[in-house]
């Protein structure tokens, strides 16, 4: 990567952060539009973004944020009251910034549909605030001009000269070495179309070699339809401002077939725009600062070792790839340390200093592991902040008044998981608002609840896992209805002995939906199963609790990190397997009386009124072992997608944090295994995918 590319990559990352922050701040400001400190913060974000965008040639983004910044600047300095429709415009503007940024990054030739409309509204608002532009429909005009006013009541009229001047100023500010700025005036004759010339054709030619191009069509002389002829040019003047590496001669080459009086090319030197240099100096300075900041960041990355402690800032940016490498190395270190700590020959050495050294090594390794783990951990606040927007939009769309409670924003979670968590969370929240909350205020009042619904977003730690829950105080889930629907859909037969949680879990099966109406928010029966799959990919699971009439809670239980899991080590024959502790409900040696064999269905163990199928690991993996009866072995009861199962093993070995290692291509096909791990002894153990362990009889038919 060249230094220029590195600088650009840093800009992109920083711009992304600024936009994310804008997203959050604009919603906070919408809640309290008298908070001018917050408005200042928003302004500063937009200001920085403008400088950066222009510096890196993202002119379309630069133009938009330039105008948005003007509006924000107006309000922060005048402290004018901001009306609701203007707040809506601010929120929409941040959306447009988001979308334009994507267009810029993907180098898309087009812009989002909302771009011109939103930009026009911003310009109009600003022009009205400045008094430069008056909506003709409301201006005081002589009677003679009233017809025209009525005709164009919707259009703000910006004097063309002023627009051109602004454009020149803007381009002048972002001009770089090797680029020339031209003003080209096209005054084509009436017969230009018949001669094969068109203003648009020249724009296309110029744009091919331009860094930036902006044009202004003066349509003031266009006649009404009775005097109009499509093949006669009625456009008086088209002014083009173009920033390009081309010379005047090269530019002139585009117009060589026009008459001399039909075009005029003016090279604009910096001196020409001297009268407006005060503001442009500021912008140039911003751009310089942006480039300098980005370059500083690059040098931080490339020569971090050379920095002295005094000169270094408190934070540095590190490529996540490097973090992953560090994380892998720490995994190896943990394995090596376990090997030393558990090696019988080393442990047999009766030397206090060696024992102490091993103990110290163990402590240091644990500390390094914790520190490195923490590098990947980020507070879930940003994700929750994004959800505020989802709640706001869904509330507006459904017309349901609601209050969002957010708890545990400081809870930290692996950054890799954060990225995959947004979509499931959005779906669950929309589902909670759309289907969880009562459809209208009357229904809530009849149930003795406040008109305003409550959605609670919460994150917390629980037994070595992270739980993220979404609760609503709506109508709750009708258990019987879910059960009946599941039978109708053929998801269950009805003979199953399912717990409440398992019944609620049925709503996350593919194609299941009890919603009476389908909305564009949720309820198509294709969402919750995707949510479930997404969470399972993160090695997590979803639990649903619901009380009819009181509300529902969806809890996503996630591991602390994707790279290390807490596992229960078990032995079957001479092999060690790892069961993720998150799935384990309990382990026990069963009494002979509670084990039953049902003909054609295999072995079952009765637990608290439930018949749980027994799965012998030795059968699953075809291990050569003595055939033990269940009451001679150990059963580990685990929760799976299809309900609980009891895995029969010979021995419980222990519990351990294990570093997950991917399996090779051949083993990856084994659905019963989700990964491998190197144990302290140096041996390899396979991690069980409990959802794929099925009773032998079922597996044989499946």
């Amino acid at each position: 990567m060249t230094k220029q590319e590195q600088v650009k990559a840093i800009f992109i990352e920083e711009a992304g952060e600024i936009i994310e922050k804008l997203d959050v701040n604009i919603l906070r400001f919408e809640e309290n539009s008298a908070d001018f400190d917050l408005l200042n913060e928003i302004f500063r974000g937009v200001h920085t973004l403008k400088g950066n965008a222009n510096a890196f040639g993202f002119t379309r983004l630069g133009e938009f944020v330039h105008h948005f910044e003007d509006v924000l600047d107006h309000y922060r300095t005048t402290r004018d009251e901001i009306e609701e429709c203007q707040l809506e415009l601010f929120v929409n503007s941040v959306d447009v910034i988001h979308e334009v940024m994507t267009c810029e990054l993907d180098q898309l030739p087009y812009l989002p549909d909302t771009y011109p409309e939103c930009l026009a509204k911003i310009k109009t608002l600003m022009a009205m605030k400045k008094g430069d532009v008056v909506l003709v429909g409301v201006q005081e005009t002589p009677a003679a001009f009233n017809d025209l006013a009525a005709e164009f009541a919707e259009f703000p009229t910006m004097p063309m000269d002023m627009s051109v001047e602004n454009s020149i100023k803007k381009h002048q500010d972002s001009r770089k070495d090797g680029l020339n700025l031209y003003r080209i005036d096209l005054t084509l004759d009436n017969d230009c179309y018949k001669r094969g010339f068109d203003h648009i054709l020249f724009l296309k030619l110029l744009a091919e070699k331009a860094v930036s191009i902006e044009s202004f069509f003066d349509m003031g002389a266009i006649a009404s339809i009775d005097q109009f002829s499509h093949d006669e040019n009625g456009i008086k003047n088209v002014c083009i401002i173009v920033l390009t590496p081309l010379t005047s001669e090269e530019i002139g080459g585009n117009f060589e077939y026009l008459f001399d009086h039909e075009y005029r090319i003016t090279l604009i030197s910096p001196a020409v725009v001297a009268p407006v240099e005060a503001e442009s100096k500021v912008i140039v300075q911003e751009i310089q600062e942006a480039v300098q900041n980005a370059q500083k960041s690059v040098s931080k990355n490339t020569s971090a070792a050379a920095q002295t402690g005094a000169a270094a800032k408190s934070t540095i940016r590190i490529d996540t790839f490097k973090l992953d490498e560090l994380f892998d190395s720490v995994g190896e270190l943990v394995i090596a340390q376990n090997f030393i700590a558990q090696n019988e020959r080393i442990r047999s050495i009766e030397d206090e200093s060696i024992s102490r050294t091993i103990e110290t090594l163990s402590k240091i390794t644990k500390r390094i592991q914790d520190r490195v783990m923490s590098l990947r951990m980020v507070a879930i606040r940003d994700t929750f902040d994004k959800m505020k927007r989802v709640v706001r939009d869904t509330s507006k769309k459904t017309g349901k008044a609601l209050h969002l409670n957010v708890l545990g924003e400081e809870t930290e979670i692996d950054k890799t998981m954060i990225d995959s968590l947004s979509d499931p969370l959005i779906h669950i929240i929309r589902n909670a608002i759309d289907h969880g909350l009562e459809s209208d205020a009357a229904e809530r009042q009849a149930a003795g609840k406040k008109v305003e619904g409550n959605i609670t977003l919460r994150a917390y730690h629980k037994s070595g896992s992270i739980v993220i829950s979404v609760s609503d105080d709506g109508r709750g889930i009708n258990k019987e209805k879910v059960f009946r629907k599941a039978i109708e859909r053929g998801i269950i037969t009805g003979d199953e002995n399912l717990s409440d949680s398992q019944i609620f879990g049925l709503i996350m099966q593919l194609g299941f939906s009890t919603a009476e109406t389908i909305s564009d928010l949720s309820g198509r029966g294709v969402g919750l199963d995707v949510v479930k799959t997404s969470i399972e990919k993160l090695r997590g699971k979803i639990e649903i609790e619901s009380v009819e009439g009181e509300g529902t809670t969806f809890s996503m239980l996630l591991p602390l990190t994707l790279a290390i899991i807490d596992g229960m080590l078990v032995r079957a024959a001479d092999e060690i397997y790892i069961i993720p502790t998150l799935s384990v409900v309990e382990s026990f040696r069963p009494e002979r009386e509670i084990v039953h064999v049902i003909k054609g269905q295999g072995e079952f163990v009765s637990m608290r009124g439930q018949h749980i199928p027994v799965i012998r690991l030795s059968d699953v993996f075809d291990l050569q072992t003595e055939h033990l009866e269940p009451w001679d072995g150990i059963l580990v009861c685990v929760e799976t997608e299809a309900g609980r199962i009891a895995i029969m093993v010979d021995e419980l070995v222990g519990r351990q944090q294990v570093v997950i290692k991917p399996l090779g291509k051949s083993l990856a096909k084994l659905r019963e295994i989700s990964g491998g791990a190197i144990l302290g002894s140096g041996d390899i153990a396979l991690i069980l995918n409990v959802d794929e362990l099925r009773p032998l009889i079922e597996a044989a038919h499946g």
Binding site: E151, M160, D198, S224, V242
Partner: protein
């Protein structure tokens, strides 16, 4: 070009011949046309179409032409194009 009752949807990338046909089509129907929509994604091919739309709007102010009312078009092919109405 698609005509649906009182709404007309046109492509912006019309050739001069298509603009002529559009002009002939729209002249007798101008009084009852409510909206002229532009197809998504297409780019203006000729300034003659822009001029025709302005002329239609000037003739009948109640006619809605959302594309024209935006006042600008931004694309990689032509940059940002603004159009101005004033005397």
């Amino acid at each position: 070009m698609q005509f649906d009752g009182d709404a007309l949807t046109i492509g912006l990338d019309m050739s001069m011949e298509e603009i002529r046909e559009f002009e002939q089509f729209v002249r007798p129907r101008l009084e009852y046309l409510e909206t002229i929509e532009a197809e998504e994604g297409a780019l203006l091919h000729s300034s003659a179409l822009l001029a025709l739309l302005v002329s239609l709007k000037r003739t009948r102010s109640a006619l809605k032409i959302p594309f024209l009312e935006r006042g600008l078009m931004a694309s990689e092919t032509y940059g940002t194009v603004h159009w101005m109405y004033h005397d």
